[in-house]
């Protein structure tokens, strides 16, 4: 039943058990996926508000655009590979297979770690070139936004490390299917956020 139909129903008229085994309106998915969807919405709001603040602050006269270093393209490549590996792990787990699962899943996390290392190196090269956090609001936003993205990735890596340990210690793939799926969704989300962020930072 659609959301609007549900909201239009007259509960005082309808008696008896409504719905099948679960009541109407329960999503046919795991609670973890529902919670993750809400979390992604919350994270999207956080990044959107930073983006709005960025645009408003950009319009003030002291703004000097930052020339984004070319390393960011390489870092972006690392994050894309990370996401592809997670997607590969998800397909293997969904098919109920085991071959290459470990490589794909662990590899996905490792490439994310490489991405973080790349971002930190970018920070260092910017600092060396004299682009400090406080020298201009464009710089401040660059460090803040990339840092915030890394914090989100670290949160994902914490969950990934727990699942990896279970996988390495002989956990069955079918028991880890949900974790792998949630990690993959989260990684794709963070890749999309990064791509948008990179586009905004590069073009302003």
């Amino acid at each position: 039943m659609s959301l609007f139909k549900q909201l239009a129903s007259k509960p005082w008229e309808r008696k008896g058990v409504i719905g099948g085994l679960d009541p109407e309106g329960v999503f046919d998915t795991s609670p973890e996926r529902v919670a993750l969807s809400f979390f992604l919405a919350v994270a999207s709001v956080i990044f959107s508000l930073f983006a709005v603040s960025y645009v408003i602050r950009m319009s003030l006269p002291d703004w000097t655009p930052l020339a984004e270093p070319s390393q960011l393209w390489a870092n972006t490549g690392l994050l894309i590979i990370s996401s592809i590996l997670f997607q590969w792990a998800r397909s293997i787990a969904n098919a109920g297979k085991q071959k290459n699962l470990l490589t794909a899943f662990i590899g996905g996390g490792v490439f994310a770690l490489l991405f973080i290392a790349g971002q930190v190196l970018t920070w260092n090269s910017l600092q060396a070139a004299g682009y400090f956090l406080t020298s201009n609001p464009a710089n401040s936003f660059f460090y803040l936004l990339t840092g915030l993205h890394i914090v989100h990735l670290l949160g994902g890596l914490w969950v990934w490390s727990k699942s990896s340990i279970r996988l390495l210690s002989g956990g069955k793939p079918e028991n880890l299917r949900l974790s792998i799926e949630l990690c993959t969704i989260y990684w794709h989300f963070l890749l999309i956020i990064w791509l948008i962020m990179f586009a905004v930072l590069s073009n302003t």
Partner: protein, 596 residues
């Protein structure tokens, strides 16, 4: 195959079964214990905020007599009182306290979806409170920038707590938001996914609807506070200029340059206005259930009440700038926000009408929760009507910095939610404790609080019309404020001290009743909603014994024509409705006398 609902498929339910005193009462994963932990900490920190307000009132009422606080500590008290009351008391108690206690019980679930996350949520909340309280003990004391924390004032040397105080405040808020997010994800997922068999969304009590929509608002509004807190932390700690403009302090230019304080205001109020409804929507829900139960009538216009909750939730995101009329905005911008502000009054007024119509020709039981509930309708209408005045730009501009605004938001967002809290605490106390409270003491508590708060806030409107400015440590002598205004201020202070002192009755009542109160049966109010149908009172771990309930009807089957008793519980099917011989609830029982 035997039916196993989603809410009962969780194999971890056994795993978090408490095995020791520590896991049962300290590191508890039981939603009921977590609710009481949340509630206790919220009330404790609320007492701190209450004492701060009394200190301020003593200064304002008798400026020459008492020497308890100086101008700096006055501003620190203003700031901490506001922030604690709004965030750490009201938000935490409505969502962390009542949300935790009622959602699984009203949804017919054994617990929250993620009990461990729920436990973490409480401990992060406690940590945030401790960080905030720590600011009283650091050099410079807590921040005195006002609860809105506007830059550049927050970071200026003339503002008390401009160094450690503001840092601790921002850190505490960040931790609180993490705690809220963990709890909030739990609440929404539990409501969506862990409802028992037959319990559709439109069969949920309005308490759950209010808490559910408020949680969604919180999940989307608190990020704005987080974003502004993070950028302000960068400004104060690392020297960036997100919000900080070029400022000359005591003849010396600060390192900041070009930041936008108005940007902070927009972010703050994008959180701040939904925050009003994060507090109000659970209050609306709880009061609807209290009114319906004690009026022995179904809630009037259930569907409209649900729609109104959703509409208010949505509209609350597009009214924020009505807090910023005096910041100097484009007239069309002001016009837009004045219009949306007036529009949001429509679903709000609709709810008030429906509460009154629920009482209309009801079989009203004037128990203490009902006293508080009816009292709430009065205070909310008064606070809401003055909100309509202030929602208009031309009226807001002259009144904005006066006591009229203080009176308005205290009536609508201070007194009203607190009356709901007392109504709800008294109403659900028998279920949570297994004991009845002392009815007489609760009614004395009501009358003193209700009349006392009117004695405080009605004259305050008049002070506002006189032009008495808010946020002043001492008014001193002016040409436009008559001396008699000070007499009014003194009267308000006496009323405030009285109301503050009288709250002790509530605590005496609770602690006395926990030990000596009459044993409550499982459903002393004859309530139809699911939380009153548990096999044990207070509900045992897992709530429902061996079998989860099945729901056959909505939560408001009161005084159903042809039924043998004046309520039919949600988990009673039509074929199971008790006959006259079986009925065990006496609708004519006068509980107010029985409990004295």
């Amino acid at each position: 195959m035997a039916y196993v609902p989603l809410a009962d498929q969780d194999s971890e339910m056994e795993m978090h079964h408490p095995h020791s005193w520590v896991t049962k009462y300290v590191w508890s994963q039981d939603h009921k214990v977590i609710a009481i932990q949340y509630g206790s900490v919220a009330i404790a920190v609320g007492i701190v905020a209450l004492v701060l307000s009394l200190l301020m009132r003593m200064q304002l009422g008798f400026p020459e007599t008492f020497d308890l606080i100086d101008p700096n500590s006055y501003y620190q008290s203003v700031t901490m009182h506001g922030m604690i009351m709004v965030v750490y008391l009201l938000t935490a108690l409505f969502l962390g306290g009542f949300g935790n206690y009622l959602i699984p019980l009203m949804c017919g679930a054994r617990d929250m979806v993620f009990p461990f996350l729920n436990m973490l949520s409480f401990w992060f909340y406690l940590l945030s409170v401790l960080i905030l309280m720590a600011s009283f003990f650091v050099g410079g004391g807590p921040t005195g920038a006002g609860w809105t924390l506007y830059p550049p004032q927050t970071a200026m040397e003339g503002t008390p707590g401009h160094d450690m105080g503001i840092l601790l405040m921002l850190a505490s808020l960040a931790v609180f938001i993490i705690a809220f997010t963990m709890g909030g994800l739990n609440y929404v997922t539990t409501v969506l996914q862990y409802r028992c068999r037959g319990l559709t969304m439109m069969r949920l009590p309005l308490s759950v609807w209010g808490i559910f929509v408020a949680t969604v608002l919180g999940l989307f509004a608190f990020p704005a506070l987080l974003v502004s807190a993070v950028m302000m932390l960068f400004d104060t700690l690392l020297g960036t200029s997100f919000f900080m403009p070029a400022v000359i302090e005591a003849g010396t230019p600060l390192d900041h340059n070009g930041g936008s304080p108005i940007l902070f205001q927009h972010l703050f109020w994008f959180f701040g206005h939904p925050e009003v409804y994060i507090v109000a929507l659970p209050a609306f829900g709880l009061i609807s259930d209290v009114l319906s139960t004690h009026a022995r009538k179904n809630i009037f216009g259930y569907r409209m009440m649900v729609w109104a909750i959703i509409a208010i939730g949505g509209l609350s995101f597009i009214v924020w700038a009505h807090h910023m009329y005096v910041s100097g905005m484009h007239p069309y911008f002001g016009f837009f926000f004045a219009t949306t502000t007036l529009i949001i009054a429509v679903p709000t007024a609709l709810k008030v009408y429906n509460w009154v119509l629920t009482l209309w020709e009801g079989d009203i039981r004037l128990n203490a929760p009902m006293y508080f509930a009816i009292g709430f309708i009065f205070t909310f209408v008064h606070g809401g009507l003055t909100g309509l005045f202030l929602g208009n730009v031309v009226i807001d501009l002259p009144l904005s910095d006066t006591y009229f605004v203080v009176a308005h938001f205290h009536m609508v967002m201070g007194v009203s939610p607190v009356l709901v809290l007392f109504a709800a605490l008294y109403h659900w106390f028998p279920k949570a404790s297994g004991r009845m409270y002392h009815e007489g003491m609760a009614k004395v508590h009501f009358w003193c609080t209700f009349l006392g708060t009117y004695a405080i806030y009605l004259p305050m409107h008049y002070l506002g019309f006189l032009g008495v400015p808010r946020r002043y440590y001492a008014i001193g002598t002016t040409d436009f404020i008559p001396e008699s205004a000070q007499d009014l201020n003194a009267t308000i202070t006496i009323a405030a001290l009285f109301v503050g002192a009288v709250q002790i009755l509530f605590f005496i009542n609770i602690f006395w009743s926990l030990r000596y109160g009459k044993k409550a049966d499982g459903n002393p109010w004859g309530s139809a909603s699911l939380e009153w149908q548990t096999p044990d009172t207070p509900p045992a771990h897992g709530n429902w014994g061996d079998k989860l309930p099945t729901v056959y009807r909505w939560a408001y089957d009161y005084s159903v024509p042809g039924a043998h008793q004046d309520f039919i519980p949600q988990n009673v099917s039509e074929s199971e409705e008790p006959t006259a011989d079986e009925q065990h609830f006496d609708p004519d029982r006068d509980t107010s006398k029985a409990d004295l």
